[in-house]
């Protein structure tokens, strides 16, 4: 029964990892940008939530109403300025630029917020309470909620990409940017929209992480970015649902690793990550289109 509990916990935490990963995957799928600042952006989302809650006293669960649009705007602006300028030079330049962005964000946070850990809504009942199934399985409401949010986000994103006019434009630009221009589409604007979506999802991930655990200025690179990468690679680059599969596989391996030995939690996750890279480099869910 202990193992069943591990698997369930792993699956649920996979939802959080999917929230980290889907924006990374989207930005790579659409504009071939590997955003090394992705984890730091999640942390920025977390800090904005801390500030918003301190000022407005809205319940922590509702902080996303302010944080997510703010991050989406930030995503659009950053894409249209810094990242697009890098893209105009070369794809490799975007790696340097997003790495630089990551360093800048981390140090700015250390400078202006300090290095202490923060978390969100520690005293809320929703965050601390859980329910039990039998004697061995205990499920935290928060983890269940995060998993549901992840599924809703992915479903919504999938629907948006496959059905809406903008979603169609995003897929067209991802396929062939020049041909899209010939159809009158300003691909830079479409890139901005895609970045806005990516930033919005990772902001949700940042808020969720802040409620689940605690974060400091370095959490973005030393935890979130790595998990996001692992989830994307395991699931399959460019596949949206792959990020959930990847997140779940990562979560389950970590949970099982922790059960074997407390210090092996992350090691187990990375071993699976490596195994997938070696045995099935295209990921568990092979890419079909960009969606």
């Amino acid at each position: 029964m202990v193992w069943v509990n591990d698997v369930i916990q792993g699956i649920l935490i996979g939802g959080l990892y999917a929230l980290f990963a889907c924006g990374l995957s989207l930005m790579f799928g659409v504009m071939k940008v590997i955003n090394l600042a992705h984890g730091d952006l999640a942390i920025i989302g977390g800090y904005i939530a801390v500030g918003v809650i301190a000022v407005t006293h809205i319940p922590v669960l509702w902080s996303f109403v302010i944080v997510v649009p703010l991050m989406a705007v930030l995503g659009y602006v950053l894409q249209r300025t810094v990242i697009q300028a890098a893209l105009d030079r070369s794809i490799l330049t975007t790696l340097l630029v997003t790495f630089g962005l990551s360093v800048v964000i981390e140090n700015a946070l250390l400078e202006f917020v300090n290095a202490n850990s923060h978390s969100l809504g520690v005293n809320d009942a929703i965050i601390t309470s859980s329910f039990s199934i039998g004697s061995q399985i205990s499920i935290a409401y928060l983890l269940l909620l995060i998993f549901v949010v992840a599924v809703v986000v992915l479903t919504g994103l999938q629907y948006f990409l496959s059905r809406s006019r903008y979603g169609r434009m995003i897929r067209a630009v991802a396929d062939d940017r020049e041909a899209a221009q010939l159809s009158g589409i300003d691909y830079r604007h479409v890139f901005g929209i895609a970045a806005a979506i990516a930033f919005a999802t990772v902001a949700l991930g940042g808020i969720a992480y802040g409620m689940y655990s605690q974060f400091s200025p370095t959490t973005g690179t030393d935890t979130i970015l790595l998990f996001a990468f692992a989830a994307v690679v395991i699931g399959g680059l460019g596949s949206l649902w792959g990020t959930l599969v990847g997140g779940v596989v990562l979560g389950v391996s970590q949970a099982i690793g922790a059960q074997i030995s407390g210090s092996d939690e992350f090691l187990a996750g990375y071993i699976v990550f490596l195994a997938v890279l070696v045995l099935r480099p295209q990921g568990l869910i092979a890419r079909r289109g960009t969606a």
């Binding site: 006019r165 169609r168 434009m169 897929r171 067209a172 991802a174 396929d175 062939d176 020049e178 041909a179 899209a180 221009q181 010939l182 159809s183 009158g184 589409i185 300003d186 691909y187 079909r288 289109g289 960009t290 969606a291």
Partner: protein
């Protein structure tokens, strides 16, 4: 923007005018002071061998390359520095070489993308389905699953639904069986009947001669011959196309227009090769 009401060839004002266009690919001069004037309702064909600069010319008119010299005027406006997507929206639409469909999208989605910023006009997705009768039944298929000729038809449809005023066709025949090429060019009269102007690039000279109202031959980035298909002789085309200098024959790579009556079309083309 109003629709072009009539399409009588050789009206006073060209709908598209290229003046002294020079384009470089790095060090290489791909186009060397090329000029052309396309009038409403025309089928203006640009022929030439591989590497003559034909595709570069169309891509520059579409805005995908920036010229180092010269200008492009469309509908009386200078569009030389306008971004490609703005040109497309204003009515210069290109069917690119190699079709360049959105491979992960369905046939219908490709057409919908083409219609995203469509001008007002006669072409709709339904109308394209009427033009290519097989297409409607297969509209939910990905374009990757179509044959080359079918893909070319979708690419044409994607351009048509934008309701272009100037439709540019880049090497429609590339990689297609002759019978398929015939069929696609056979659609041209129906397309022209809706009042648009066609500027096409073609390696297949006989095909171009069949459909064109005006012909311009490029060789190594320069104009070597132009006129109406009835004005030029096969020998002239051969010389202009391959750059052979037959003794006593007209034309040649450097010589500008061959001194044959009628070919110059006095006044239609401003000083060629002026440098």
């Amino acid at each position: 923007m109003s629709e072009p009401a009539d399409r009588a060839p050789k009206q006073d004002e060209p709908i598209l005018e290229v003046r002294e266009l020079t384009v470089h690919h790095g060090q290489l001069r791909a186009l060397d002071h090329i000029s052309l004037r396309v009038f409403p309702g025309e089928v203006y064909a640009i022929i030439g061998a591989n590497g003559a600069g034909k595709s570069t010319l169309l891509r520059t008119i579409a805005g995908l390359h920036q010229p180092t010299e010269g200008s492009i005027r469309y509908d009386g406006q200078d569009v030389t520095r306008i971004r490609p997507e703005r040109r497309a929206i204003s009515g210069i639409v290109m069917v690119p070489e190699g079709r360049r469909l959105f491979g992960s999208l369905t046939v219908e989605e490709n057409l919908q993308v083409g219609a995203t910023y469509a001008r007002k006009g006669p072409w709709t997705i339904e109308r394209v389905y009427e033009l290519f009768s097989w297409m409607k039944d297969r509209r939910a298929q990905r374009t990757e699953q179509l044959s080359g000729g079918e893909q070319q038809a979708v690419a044409i449809g994607r351009a048509l639904v934008a309701n272009p005023r100037v439709l540019m066709l880049d090497e429609l025949s590339l990689g297609l069986a002759p019978v398929v090429v015939q069929r696609i060019y056979g659609m041209l009269p129906q397309i022209l009947a809706t009042g648009l102007t066609v500027l096409l690039v073609e390696q297949d000279v006989s095909q171009a001669l069949r459909v064109a109202s005006h012909l311009q031959c490029l060789l190594e980035g320069r104009t070597t011959l132009q006129g109406t298909p009835s004005e030029v002789t096969p020998e002239q085309v051969e010389v202009a196309y391959f750059g052979l200098r037959s003794p006593g024959g007209p034309g040649g790579t450097e010589g500008g227009e061959p001194p044959v009556s009628g070919v110059g079309l006095g006044g239609v083309v401003p000083s060629e090769e002026a440098r």
